[in-house]
Subunit: 490 residues, 2 copies
Amino acid sequence: MRTGLRTGLGTGLRTQGPDRAAAPCLLTLCLGCLHVVALKPQLLTRLGGSSHSTDTPISYDTFYFDQRIDHFGFLEDGTFKQRYLVADEHWQRPGGPILFYTGNEGDITWFCNNTGFMWDVAEELGAMLDSKHLNYLSSEQALADFAVLIKHLKSSSPGAEQSPVIAVGGSYGGMLAAWFRMKYPNIVVGALAASAPIWQFPGMVPCGDFYRIVTQDFAKSGNACDANIRKSWKAINNVSSTASGLQWLSEEFSLCAPLKSSIDAVGFKSWLQETWVNLAMVDYPYPANFLQPLPRWPIQVVCKFLALDPSVSDYELLHGVAQAAKVYYNYTGSSPCLNTSQTATGSLGLLGWFYQACTEMVMPMCADGVHDMFEPQDWNLQAFSDECNAMFGVRPRADWAGTVYGGKDIASHSNIIFSNGGLDPWSAGGVTSNITDSLVSILIPDGAHHLDLRYRNDQDPPSVRAARALEVMYFREWIRQAKKTQPRCP
Amino acid sequence: MRTGLRTGLGTGLRTQGPDRAAAPCLLTLCLGCLHVVALKPQLLTRLGGSSHSTDTPISYDTFYFDQRIDHFGFLEDGTFKQRYLVADEHWQRPGGPILFYTGNEGDITWFCNNTGFMWDVAEELGAMLDSKHLNYLSSEQALADFAVLIKHLKSSSPGAEQSPVIAVGGSYGGMLAAWFRMKYPNIVVGALAASAPIWQFPGMVPCGDFYRIVTQDFAKSGNACDANIRKSWKAINNVSSTASGLQWLSEEFSLCAPLKSSIDAVGFKSWLQETWVNLAMVDYPYPANFLQPLPRWPIQVVCKFLALDPSVSDYELLHGVAQAAKVYYNYTGSSPCLNTSQTATGSLGLLGWFYQACTEMVMPMCADGVHDMFEPQDWNLQAFSDECNAMFGVRPRADWAGTVYGGKDIASHSNIIFSNGGLDPWSAGGVTSNITDSLVSILIPDGAHHLDLRYRNDQDPPSVRAARALEVMYFREWIRQAKKTQPRCP
């Protein structure tokens, strides 16, 4: 099933899916604010392992809210315990702003506060999920969860009643942040939607842009890095056509499960493709552990192994590819073998995103092998739909996201920042130019996937520092607007 | 069950519910426009009898669209045939505007066009409805129906692709029109929300304002009309305390089903209360047949029978009340008896509205007998909830409408006209002053329930003529804005 879905959506499912590790808040965002993180709604959850990359003490309180399973129907009257985290150490009551982090599809780590605090809370989709519960796993239910939770918080937290709330999120969480402002402007005064591909839907952007950007990232590292990856697919086909070649490949890549057939080689290529995509997403300017522990500018490191002469043999080329892949999968040297069934740290946790991709989050991707370094692959909605039907018994509604969230026609909304990294393939589906004075785009040319939401770092390029400063400026303006229009505190 | 709900919500359920007869479009609205009427979504329907008050020929085409039963979940993948009516006789292709009438909770009649056409299509809720289907009877599903239908129309009707769409609706349909613009500004460039009580929800307006306005309407007709109605409840209690009194009352009111007990008298008083409310809603300046066939300014006619001296006996007072009620129920003289199980023409058709009132459309009403002419009645959410639970197995979510549709905090939206009649009790829950330059209120002091949406009439007061002219002015402005921002036709 996994391979099938992988075939259907390319890496879309997987690369969007794993965006669940470090999604820290801006260090500079804390304007005497209350920070609230709403974890993944609708789903029974269990706490996974947590880790974070600094030794800053974590300070937050955990609460549970009886959230409705279904906001849009009344027959299902059940509730679930929605977990949320609150950090109010620096909150100025009454009326200090609330930063509300719109939880992603998986784990959340959220860093915020000048004095430094950091959350690294893993949250994974429980394997006990059945399709009845998945039915309530939708963006609309998530937004309704956020709205009901915030109203509850504001009415039950002394001093919060007049607090303006700002939604902050990255990746799918960034999409939710933007949509939350669009659909519930009564609840949040504005939203920071970081690396949010709200236009990665059918008919809105060219399906090939995503892989084109991945390819550009590798091309920038010079030495024919992209060209050699483009050549590698044929080389894999050639080598994997014999049993001895399959064995050689398996050994060269230190695969945990050796390749047995050319069918396995298809999955192997998908896994490699995803590896390059993930590297493009996490091509950060300093060592980080987002999807995997990696050195700074990991693509540059990877491409050192791919600086090969055009005349090299298939085996020499694939030796280089294997070395490159091991930068991603075994930078720490602690992996005994490479597991082609996953491309990011952490266990599973993708089922929920798969379901969403199979329902409303339909994100076409394609490659042509010319403008990108991948094997040509069409976007085939019907094939994708069939896979979804086999997997979940549902079929995607390709046009729904555009209808419900407006697609390109969102100019009547206000107070949303769309930030995008120039290195991030997801910027292909993002808003990368200003729509109006208050629907603004911030570009971070040296940024990968929501770099601006990460902890401040000495190696941050100037562009992300500037982006964060601008984001805070808009936050202040939204808060000022809100304070102006709301009644005075009694 | 009916009486129970009536007790719980006062006349709210009933008076909002029956708003399903004449809801004609402005005669002056037709700017070379395409007119689309979307009938009640989600529900299996049957065509009821149709009638209209003029002999203008009706010209429209009927179509059916395979609409999703559930937009917000994917397990229920079924569709129903959503019926919609299209009048394109005067439509200027390509790009001429589309007026989209957001169907009400029951029957729809829709009049539009300078040359005169009128629809009077009855649509009633089928008695075969089960709670599974009712689960999809919600405003959110209705808005999603509208959005999907309009996208379908625009993509499938040659010349419609660039057409700006304006939502028009009255009463509950007016609420839907306003909410449609709020939630789907990508689909409609603006909305006329006529007599739309979007604030008749818990905590937004005083629960007693509704009945206070009804009372004012009767007080305006002078001769202690309101005072005598206020006195009548006690008189009914007195008279109905004996078997002979019950018999006298039944005969005096020509009741189809004679009153047997003081319990029956409670229902009888509810029915009378609803009668006065309905008269306030349809106090039109010319003979009309909205809820019942009535003379012009029917409250003045009714009050002639209530111009009684304070010293009259209970029997004399109730004789006057009976005569007054017969103005409403038997103006044509064709009713052999009065049926206390209904207060408006047409058969049933209220079940759907009851369900909505029991789920998200929770509209508190109360009376004190001092500022209004009714028996004191508190708003009791718990009792109401218990009745809903007994009737449908659901409980209302009192705060949900305010959360999802913004309550008083809607200033960030745009391009909505809220028109309200000064005689209309529903104006108590309406937007009666400007919120911003593009969220505007139009008051029609001499208007009852969405008089502005009715056919132009020689006896129209100047205020409704002015309102219509202003509405058209805003329509033109929205269309101008839309044409300015959209790409040129290829």
